[in-house]
Amino acid sequence: MLQRQAAAGEPLVWLSSMGLATGIAMVIFLLGLILVNGISVFWPKRVVQLQVSEDGSERQLIGEIVKKQKQATSGDQEWQLYTANRDAFGHSFVYVPEAAIGEQSQPLDILKIERLEFGSVFGRALRIEQADAEPISLVGEADDPQLQEFVDEATALRAEVTEIEKSEIGRVNNRIERLKRKPANSAITAELASLTGEYEALAQKARKLRDLATQTHLIYEISDGRERSVAIGHIVSFYRPNAMGLSARCGRFLHNAKVFLLDAPREANTEGGVFPAIFGTVIMTIFMSLAVTPFGVITAIYLHEYARTGPLLTSVRIAVNNLAGVPSIVFGVFGLGFFVYFVGGGIDRLFFADTLPTPTFGTGGILWASLTLSLLTVPVVIVAAEEALSAVPRGTREAALACGASKWQTIQRVILPASLPGILTGMILAMARGAGEVAPLMLVGVVKLAPSLAINSSYPFVHLDQKFMHLGFHIYDLGFQSPDSEAALPMVFATTLLLIVVVVVLNLAGILVRDRLRRKYAGSTF
């Protein structure tokens, strides 16, 4: 039976429900915002051709509509257009007042060409010019396979050049470096000479291949009627955004996503992919969890199995909570002062004295970053592992002891296996925390562009001293340090989406495993 008279304080209950609603709405909105913006980066947009008449003069613009907004001072509606062709116009974005826009169309013959340099091109393909053959004129979509053939050939050549430059020349260089450090004698001088010859030959080959890829040019026409050219070797890919059907656009979407995930960045990180950043994040996180898990688990075992109630236990708990609460940047400062300069500098003086003053370990690197972050994430592992330990029923423990197992044997054979999922949870949560942390990394070894990966094919394969790229820092760097932050914005959103997906998936996995464990053991009483 319901009351006629409302209970006291009911409006305040409603007020408190607003608090929760706000919190949930914010999370959903934020994730949605990132999801929509991040995904739409890969979706091939239609390209419009606009007739703009301003101040009595007519001009034609071709581009993607970025947004329509009110102008800040006058309040008039205006369009932001991504016109690309940065080399021709000097800018890639343009604002057009809506009132000035005349005829609009989406011509099928517009080509979007992604280049190695200067961003993309919107234009109409005219012909292919070759060094020693007649130009091939391109008329419509039917000629695309012909152009594609040229591009594929050039791409293969480029891959060959990269291979030579990266691995072969790198290997020769490595050997030269090592020889140079040894005391000079005639054998070494001879070897050096032969290596230098080898190097020259390889460099020659790379140059020749590169020339081959840039001899042929594609001539195209841009929106204002000018003819421009691009070397075939500089074309990454091309497509007709307006001529594509749904399936072709989906294919393009997947292709773009693949490029983003698997390619190296280009153009000051604003184009291409983020593969090195993904790789760096993953490797750093793995090293970190290798360091943090044993430490965290041992502390948890101590707290749960060995420590007795008293001031010592209290102070360990206070220490754990402080480790969790100390700002991450302080860990970065400590990492820089202790790991990089103190320990790394010491290692350099002891083992790498011949390369000083160029530091080997005495500068930020993936090892120091991992160790710094492992300090930061220890509490996460401790808390999760302790929870897992306490979920192991007391009876199990006592049964093991009653069978005559020693305390350590009980822990090793019974308790640890039983709490392994919980420890795994801690590890996952720590990885999520570590993957999202940026501030300390900025001090201990993250860079905007790492020349090579921390694990690669050159000896000794794992380079702990190497600087690395990181998804979180990539966001910061792209959004705040890049010269054209407007052009970088799509990449920032895509990277943000990727980072959020990584972190949220890791977290949800951890939380779900934990909740399942809690439920599993909640009812078990012996």
Partner: protein, 771 residues
């Protein structure tokens, strides 16, 4: 049948054992050993957490400590120069070949440490004889006034050379330049000073004619072109005697030849500034007008030539700097610093080439002081009276020379003269500033820049960001926690908690990026809408709650208790729409200013705010930071508060409900007070997180270290400051250590907060045990 035997174990338990089976029940030795080893190993491992926390603090503290040490000076060597009553002491940049100038105008170079001496006479052009000397340490030159008037420049040309054994040796090659005519012709110069300001070189000559002292400012100009430095020519010879009130005692040229300061017998200092081609008198002041002794005993410039170090005959030591006393006023000298008095008049002075330190000798006392922080870095009585002092250009050696001609070489270790309690936490009167202030500005354009390292604006910035974040986060987080734990239907809790924890895991770099590049531009011209939302959302929720309870039961049945928050998602959206619609209307109605240029009325909050409040309006402001950092803190406060609220035993709330209390009364009067300590610790932990948050503030504020609490300006927090400056700070430099000090402050703040919160929580845990 074997007989079982009752055996007492050391634990006092009894087990039945077979005498022959004793082996069987004996654990293997190795098992026991491993067990014992692991016990110790795990104990050590567990305590390593304490070690880690302590280690971090101790390491950072150890890095910070040198900042608060004074200078260390130790005597290295005494050398006989054989030059009594010398006129001057100077030193090369390596401190290996100092020189002493004797009364005859000969330079004696003394090699350190061998003590080998070489004598180089100064042979001036035109058969002139030296009559007065000035030392220019910066360019390693001597300016020599002659008995025929005018002056010559003597270059010492110190150079390092490497012998066959790669041993470095320092040599000199004294070259005497031509004589520049200036002042009165054929009248001996009795005092001079000279400054080389690259294109402008100024010398001030004092001569005595007809019993009167005549002072001239001689300007040299050097044309510079792509072909290199051109010829130096005398460009001006201005008689400034008329400008001086009294007989000149000390003349000094400063600021690259832009200003001249002259101390007179009457105890006044005249300040002349270069204005076009002439020097114009700007000011005459009495530096010791308020003290018993007016007589000026020394007058010298600090590095950079914008501050005067003055002492009087009684040893009172003051610094006067150029600053604008009021806005748009002339830059004049005024007293900015007052040092501990010296025992008597200063007999020797040397300014550091590296920083604003200076070394003074008075009687048997040597005193090294720092002009920015107003501190005595080192002071000690010696067994002799120093007649001349010199500081090496690397600020690592100091030399003194007594009347008898003994040279004392000291090692000086003062890596962080700009640091100290006063510099970090006190108001400091920097050069050029019109009053003492708290400023953070660690790097500047020139070598003569004073690092300004006050922590106060950064601490204030941290507090500001935290306050605004907490203002936003506390109400939402606590209300949400209260609702989730007390009112919400339990089936939602399994979803709500992971959602909020997911919110906690969103990397702060993402939030910072959204704050700066999405929310900042979005809210820039929509502040009135935000205002409307902040007011309407809580009001609407209360109103709906009120109306709902007035509804007939048939309607109320539609929303079961515990489902209320679902209704609010559309209500919130409605509030957002209302804010977007009503915001501009409010702006047009209230936030109107008249444009100073056109006189038209403009409705723009961004311009209304400075008009109304006086502060600026910045796009990246504390409102944005508070909003986004609040977002980062909400889940932390929520999780802990919700935990402590739902851990309150059900018996208590059930009892309250059974006695007829409404669910709000139960939650607010019974559950909330019981869990108060836990909620308080949740807030404190959230506070700790907000204080140290780095990426959000780094990205969403302009990072300008300012001292105001306005919501529409940015700030620079301790944490963002570290992130901005530490990657560029040279290892073990003053800035590096100052940033470590910032980290230590952060650590200390959060340590206190977290320890307090943890103690509260443990207290709470014990309390529940007894309930």
């Amino acid at each position: 049948m074997r007989e079982a035997q009752r055996v007492a174990t050391d634990q006092g338990q009894f087990v039945f054992m077979n005498p022959d089976d004793s082996q069987r029940f004996q654990p293997r030795r190795i098992t026991l050993l491993i067990d014992r080893f692991m016990t110790h190993f795990i104990k050590v491992g567990g305590l390593a957490v304490i070690a880690a926390v302590m280690g971090i603090f101790v390491f950072i503290f150890w890095q910070v400590l040198p900042l608060f040490r004074g200078a260390e000076v130790s005597l290295v060597q005494e050398l006989e120069t054989g030059v009594p009553d010398a006129l001057m002491l100077g030193v090369d940049q390596w401190t290996e070949l100092p020189f002493v100038l004797d009364k005859e105008g000969q330079l004696h170079f003394i090699a350190i440490p061998s003590g080998e001496r070489s004598v180089v006479p100064i042979n001036l052009a035109d058969d002139a004889q030296p009559s007065a000397f000035a030392h220019v340490p910066k360019t390693q030159q001597l300016a020599v006034g002659t008995d025929k008037g005018g002056f010559s420049l003597v270059d010492l040309n110190y150079a390092a050379s490497f012998g066959d054994d790669e041993q470095r040796s320092i040599g000199q090659d004294v070259t005497v330049g031509k004589r520049y005519k200036g002042g009165l012709a054929d009248v001996p110069v009795i005092a001079l000073d000279y400054v080389d300001g690259e294109s402008l070189k100024v010398a001030v000559l004092v001569q005595e004619a007809d019993g009167k002292r005549v002072t001239h400012a001689v300007t040299l100009k050097q044309k510079r072109s792509l072909m290199g430095a051109g010829k130096v020519k005398v460009a001006g010879n201005q008689d400034i005697s008329g400008e001086l009130e009294g007989t000149p005692r000390f003349v000094r040229v400063g600021a690259g030849g832009q200003l001249i300061a002259v101390a007179t017998d009457s105890g006044s200092i005249c300040y002349l500034r270069r204005d076009g081609r002439e020097f114009v008198k700007m000011q005459t002041f009495f530096p010791f007008a308020d003290s018993a002794t007016q007589e000026i005993a020394s007058l010298d410039f600090l590095l950079g030539g914008n501050s005067l170090v003055v002492t009087n005959a009684a040893g009172v030591n003051r610094v006067f700097s150029l600053y604008m006393p009021a806005k748009d006023a002339e830059r004049l000298f005024g007293q900015t610093k007052s040092f501990a008095p010296l025992p008597g008049a200063a007999s020797a002075y040397a300014a550091s080439q590296r920083n604003k330190s200076f070394l003074m000798a008075s009687g048997e006392t040597l005193s090294l002081r720092h002009g920015t922080t107003e501190t005595v870095r080192w002071e000690a009585a010696q067994s002799y009276q120093a007649a001349h002092v010199a500081l090496s250009s690397k600020h690592d050696r100091l030399l003194t020379l007594d009347q008898a001609g003994t040279l004392y070489l000291y090692k000086l270790h003062d890596p962080h003269p700009e640091a100290g309690m006063q510099a970090f936490f006190g108001k400091v009167w920097y050069e050029g500033a019109s009053r003492p202030d708290y400023v953070w500005q660690s790097t500047g354009g020139s070598d003569e820049f004073e690092p300004k390292l006050s922590m106060i604006p950064l601490i204030l910035g941290s507090i500001k960001g935290t306050v605004f974040a907490m203002l936003f986060a506390i109400p939402i987080a606590l209300l949400a926690a209260l609702y989730t734990s007390q009112f919400q239907h339990p089936r939602f809790r399994a979803v709500v908690k992971p959602t909020m924890e997911t919110m906690a895991s969103i990397p702060s770099v993402v939030l910072g990026f959204l704050a700066a590049l999405w929310l900042g531009p979005l809210l820039e011209n929509r502040v009135p809408a935000v205002l409307v939302f902040v007011i309407t959302a809580p009001l609407a929720s209360m109103l709906i709650g009120f109306l709902w309870t007035r509804m007939p039961p048939e309607v109320r049945v539609l929303c079961k208790p515990g489902y209320e928050f679902l209704i609010f998602i559309p209500v919130l959206i409605g509030c957002v729409c209302l804010a977007v619609w009503f915001g501009p209307i409010l702006e047009r109605a209230v936030f109107v200013v008249s444009d100073p240029e056109t006189g038209a009325q403009v409705a723009d909050f961004r311009r209304w705010w400075p008009d109304f409040w006086g502060g600026r309006y910045e796009q990246r402001n504390a409102l944005i930071v508070g909003f986004v950092m609040g977002f980062a803190v909400i889940p932390i406060i929520f999780t802990i508060a919700e935990d402590s609220l739902s851990h309150v035993p059900r018996d208590i709330s059930s009892a309250a409900l059974a006695l007829g209390a409404s669910r709000w009364q139960t939650a607010f009067r019974i559950v909330l007070p019981t869990a108060a300590a836990g909620i308080f610790s949740a807030v404190i932990i959230g506070l700790g997180r907000a204080v140290g948050e780095t990426m959000i503030v780094l990205m969403a504020t302009g990072n300008t270290p300012i001292m105001d609490m306005s919501i529409f300006t940015g700030m620079r927090t301790l944490s963002a400051n570290i992130a901005v400056e530490l990657p560029e700070a040279p290892h073990s430099g003053t800035l590096y250590r100052a940033l470590f000090l910032g980290a230590m402050l952060l650590f200390a703040m959060t340590f206190v907060l977290n320890t307090f919160a943890e103690i509260l929580r443990q207290h709470l845990r014990n309390k529940y045990k007894t309930v």
